[in-house]
């Protein structure tokens, strides 16, 4: 057994961590340190990039290279870093306000290019640092200072957006499930290409309890479904409910037996959707990304994980090819161009 390169404490800075008491960001920071200590990347090769907002303070609290930038522009800056030096492991920390308002354009373009970035979107369904306005993921009816009569906008589904942008890795986790959070971050860290992770995060001050249905022990198992590769979609405290497709429409079915041994039942476990994160087609992942409370359980885990060449890998590949085809670059030849004349 080799010693870990890093311990979580190695990633501490001497800065005071400043979020509101009870903020979900504390748990995410702690599990991020845990995951990084397990991921085996040396500290100097880690770069954290953020935009602006509560989540975007993360780079200041990690003793790695870090760059807090401009609202929503983190993915663009991170892409530049990766192009300059593909050896670095670059993380982008964003939120629903940062990443899906000003940053929506940059987010989808980073994802579609498959830049090797780990993008963590802390979704608390509200603008926090600007003191509580509805965000692009706020549910219809959400009352904030900016929407005192309730939000009238249809919210974006971050994972559906990422999948529509041809994401190669898409996962969802939640701040309070620390083991799942660490596991998911480790999966993201090991993916080559854009890894997009939505983290449900409770904003104690401006949107407290918005994910209670998925985190409250008394009800969460009825409302969440943990994805497992090549396993049927089963959920519920008694594991007696499943999701199957009726044509292209998902529906919840009651299984006669939680273990699936239901001979003679019309709701057989074999009829349930089998999860496949690595399928060529993203349609299943997209369908799962749309399952929402209260009609459906919301899925957690890895929705999609496929291989595709990275952007920076291809970009540098073209440069290597050009260098091979033209021989070593000679600046004096470039300056001279095709046609010269000499004045004596």
């Amino acid at each position: 057994m080799t010693l870990p390169l890093l311990t979580p404490a190695d990633l501490d800075t001497d800065r005071e961590v400043r979020w509101c008491p009870g903020c979900g960001d504390f748990a995410i920071l702690a599990q991020l340190k845990q995951a990084l200590s397990e991921a085996g990347v040396p500290r100097e090769k880690l770069v954290f990039v953020s935009g602006f907002g509560c989540s975007s303070r993360i780079p200041y609290y990690l003793n790695t290279y870090g760059f807090q930038t401009v609202q929503g522009r983190g993915p663009a800056i991170a892409t530049g870093i990766k192009i300059a030096n593909p050896e670095l492991q670059v993380w982008v920390v964003t939120g629903d306000g940062d990443g899906l308002s000003a940053g929506a354009g940059h987010l989808i373009h980073a994802i579609r290019r498959n830049v090797d970035l780990k993008i963590l979107l802390f979704n608390n369904e509200v603008f926090g640092l600007t003191k509580g306005q509805n965000s692009p993921t706020s549910r219809v009816g959400t009352r904030t200072k900016a929407s005192p009569l309730g939000s009238i906008e249809t919210p974006l589904r971050p994972l559906s957006l990422a999948l529509a942008a041809e994401a190669t890795f898409v996962a969802r986790t939640v701040d309070v499930d620390v083991h799942h959070l660490t596991e998911t971050l480790l999966r993201a860290a090991s993916h080559r290409g854009t890894a997009f992770v939505e983290i449900y995060q409770n904003c104690k001050i401006f949107n407290d309890g918005v994910f209670d249905y998925a985190t409250d022990k008394s009800v969460k198992e009825e409302h969440t479904l943990h994805l497992e590769q090549r396993r049927p979609l089963i959920f519920g405290r008694d594991r007696n409910m499943g999701v199957r497709l009726n044509g292209v429409v998902p529906e919840i079915v009651q299984l006669n037996n939680g273990n699936g041994n239901s001979a003679g039942s019309s709701n057989h476990i074999d009829d349930l959707v089998i999860h496949d994160e690595s399928g060529d087609d993203a349609t299943l992942a997209f369908l799962l990304s749309r399952l929402s409370f209260p009609e459906f359980p919301e899925c957690f885990g890895v929705f999609r994980c496929v291989d595709r060449p990275t952007y920076e890998g291809q970009l540098l590949g073209q440069i290597a090819e050009a260098r091979q085809a033209h021989g070593p670059a000679k600046l004096d030849e470039l300056l001279a161009g095709d046609e010269t004349w000499t004045v004596a």
């Binding site: 200041y60 870090g66 991170a78 530049g80 300056l335």
Partner: protein
């Protein structure tokens, strides 16, 4: 490899006899300089003819300045006014710093080309016109009510109307070509005719044809024959009963090439990154006219030029800035609308103190404005168009050669001082070309980075060297892990700070860092007397027109000088003192008076503005007239 077929009986191109020595039987008009414009339909090969004439003139020992005029429409209908393509060459012994005010010789391949360019022709200028293209439906399409070759509308023009299609076809009759291929040779006939007119050497063009069409011997021979036929036609027919002689220029010895503004920018950026031994990340988003630079850069992959295409100009600068943080030379190029989008990101670049270069090729604005026309109205935006106290370096290139020098300088300053640098050019400058003496790579200035404290354990990113530049600590190096960002930082520790006094100190520090770059800048130089009656002060691409106008004005008794600001922020240290040595200061600019405003604000100098906002560069005559007016009012 495809077999190369020789057309039976064709004369190998190498055996085309050289042009005969100019016979003395036609009168020769001596010109210190001349302007030729090739104009025709988009498909007529006018850019090619212009480029070849440029090379031939350079070989003949002239100074050259060229300007292409491409149609604004992507595919305009054949023969339409919108489809006219032109290429202007101003060449001579001296003073060819612009594309020339008026045209001495116009080659018009169709009625539309004549219609568009006739107004630019000098009184008494020569128009060589392809008479074969003047069928009634063609001149109607060009907006003529009657055939302009016959109705007297070209009075005052020396007209040489030739059946260029027929003459060219006859010259290549023995070569088997498709009708389309045969038709495409006619630009060479016209070119050959102009070569005769100005006594240009044909060999460089024949050589070019041989290289270009090596895989297509029939076309190779046809083009060569058509060129030489044009030349001999001039020689043996009295249709143009005179020739021009343009003496050689006095060039400094060295190796030269033709350089456009865009090429200058591309080469300057690549050279600087090469010298800095860092990859160049050139991130941009398509926008006219900066896309041309993007295309240049995309061809330079073998020099480790990495060219991501961004989703918008904000992302383009973000990519460049991220690349700089990652240790590359981050560059973006855009035009006015893109620079507007980048304002916020420029603030981050100033705050984070990262090196990056933003090339702004200005065009007519505001908004979409005149995307196909030139202007100089982004100066104040470049200097001040950000929130907060946000100083950065602003440079403006004066000539295509200067595009090289200042692109290189922009990278050098950005890296040395850890600052964004805006380099202003414009549409006119980016397309213009001139002869450029190729520098030796070893003579290029060193690209220095601020000293990085090797004591990693104590590293903090806000330490400064004697020039106030903070270190460039690049991710990947153990011991230098640090965090930077858009939040104000403590002047000593670099930690986030919202302390009021600290903020003021940081504002002053950032301002001082940029201001004291002036200590190492070259003094503002004047062309002409060191003091006197009038200084004509410009910035950017107006240099050619200003210097030519001042040169002409220097024949008067009054002391007139020219100076061009290339460093707009900071300005050379002697700027104020220099301005004070002249009784009056004239500032020609292609905007509403932005430099004038700046001179008043910075130095309390009241200048006389000459503002032109028509999407066109100054003519020499316009500035000359203004100079004369000022000097007259004085006497």
């Amino acid at each position: 490899m495809a077999a190369i077929k020789r057309t039976p009986g064709a004369v190998p191109p190498e055996s085309v006899p050289p042009a005969p020595v100019p016979p003395a039987r036609v009168p020769v008009e001596e010109r210190a300089q001349a302007t030729v414009r090739f104009a025709g339909d988009s498909g007529d090969g006018m850019q090619l003819a212009g480029a070849q004439f440029t090379s031939a003139s350079a070989h003949a020992g002239n100074l050259v300045f060229t300007l292409p005029e491409n149609p604004t429409e992507i595919r305009a209908p054949a023969g339409s006014l919108a489809g006219v393509s032109g290429f202007t060459i101003h060449f001579g012994a001296h003073s060819t710093r612009t594309a020339g005010d008026r045209v001495d010789v116009l080659v018009a391949m169709n009625p539309a080309a004549l219609k568009v360019n006739h107004p630019a022709l000098q009184p008494g200028g020569l128009a060589i016109v392809n008479a074969d293209a003047f069928a009634p439906d063609e001149w109607t399409k060009a907006g003529y009510d009657a055939n302009p070759l016959e109705d007297g509308s070209l009075a005052g023009v020396r007209l040489a109307a030739l059946p260029i299609n027929k003459l060219s076809r006859a010259a290549i009759a023995r070569i088997k070509l498709s009708p389309r291929e045969a038709e495409r040779c006619r630009n060479f006939f016209a070119l050959g005719m102009v070569y005769w007119l100005f006594d240009r050497p044909t060999e460089p063009t024949l050589r070019w044809i041989r290289a270009k069409f090596a895989m297509n011997p029939a076309v190779l021979e046809a083009n060569s024959l058509s060129l030489m036929a044009g030349y001999r036609f001039g020689e043996t027919n009295p249709v143009v009963p005179f020739r021009f002689r343009v003496p050689k220029a006095n060039f400094a010895p060295g190796k030269y090439r033709k350089l456009t503004g865009n090429e200058g920018l591309a080469l300057g950026l690549v050279s600087a990154a090469h010298r800095a031994e860092r990859p160049l990340v050139f991130a941009s988003c398509p926008i006219h006219p900066a896309s041309e630079l993007m295309h240049e850069m995309a061809e330079l992959k073998r020099f480790d030029v990495r060219c991501p295409q961004a989703e918008d100009e904000i992302a383009a600068l973000g990519l460049a800035l991220g690349a700089s943080f990652g240790g590359a030379i981050g560059v973006t190029a855009t035009s006015g609308p893109g620079l507007s989008l980048q304002s916020e990101m420029l603030g981050l670049a100033v705050m984070a103190e990262l090196p990056c270069v933003i090339v702004d090729l200005q065009r007519g604005g505001p908004s979409t404005g005149l995307p196909g026309k030139t202007e100089q109205a982004d100066l104040l935006q470049a200097l001040f168009g950000r929130h907060g106290e946000c100083p950065l370096v602003v440079l403006a290139a004066a000539t295509p050669s200067d595009c090289f020098a200042l692109a290189y300088e922009a990278v050098r300053l950005a890296v040395r001082y850890m600052t964004p640098v805006i380099l202003l050019g414009d549409l006119y400058l980016s397309a213009a070309a001139e002869a450029w003496r190729i520098p030796a790579v070893d003579d290029l200035p060193a690209i220095e980075t601020p000293h990085l404290d090797a004591n990693g354990s104590a590293f903090q990113p806000n330490l400064r060297d004697q020039r106030l530049a903070r270190p460039w600590a690049i991710p990947g190096v153990p011991g230098f892990e640090h965090r930077i960002g858009g939040l104000e930082k403590n002047v000593e520790t670099g930690y986030v700070s919202s302390d009021p006094d600290n903020h003021e100190r940081m504002v002053h520090l950032r301002a001082r860092k940029i201001a004291q770059i002036a200590d190492e800048l070259p003094a503002l130089a004047v062309a002409g007397p060191e003091s006197g009656d009038l200084l004509v002060l410009g910035w950017g691409s107006t240099q050619g027109a200003i210097q030519s106008a001042v040169e002409r004005a220097q024949t008067s008794d009054l002391a007139v000088a020219a100076a061009q600001l290339r460093y707009l922020n900071p300005m050379p240290k002697n700027t104020a003192e220099l301005l004070s040595r002249y009784k009056k200061v004239l500032v020609p600019e292609l905007n509403g008076g932005q430099l004038s405003l700046l001179l008043r604000a910075r130095f309390g100098v009241e200048s006389i503005g000459l503002c032109k906002i028509q999407g066109e560069p100054f003519t020499v005559g316009e500035i000359e007239m203004k100079i004369a007016e000022i000097l007259q009012s004085k006497t």
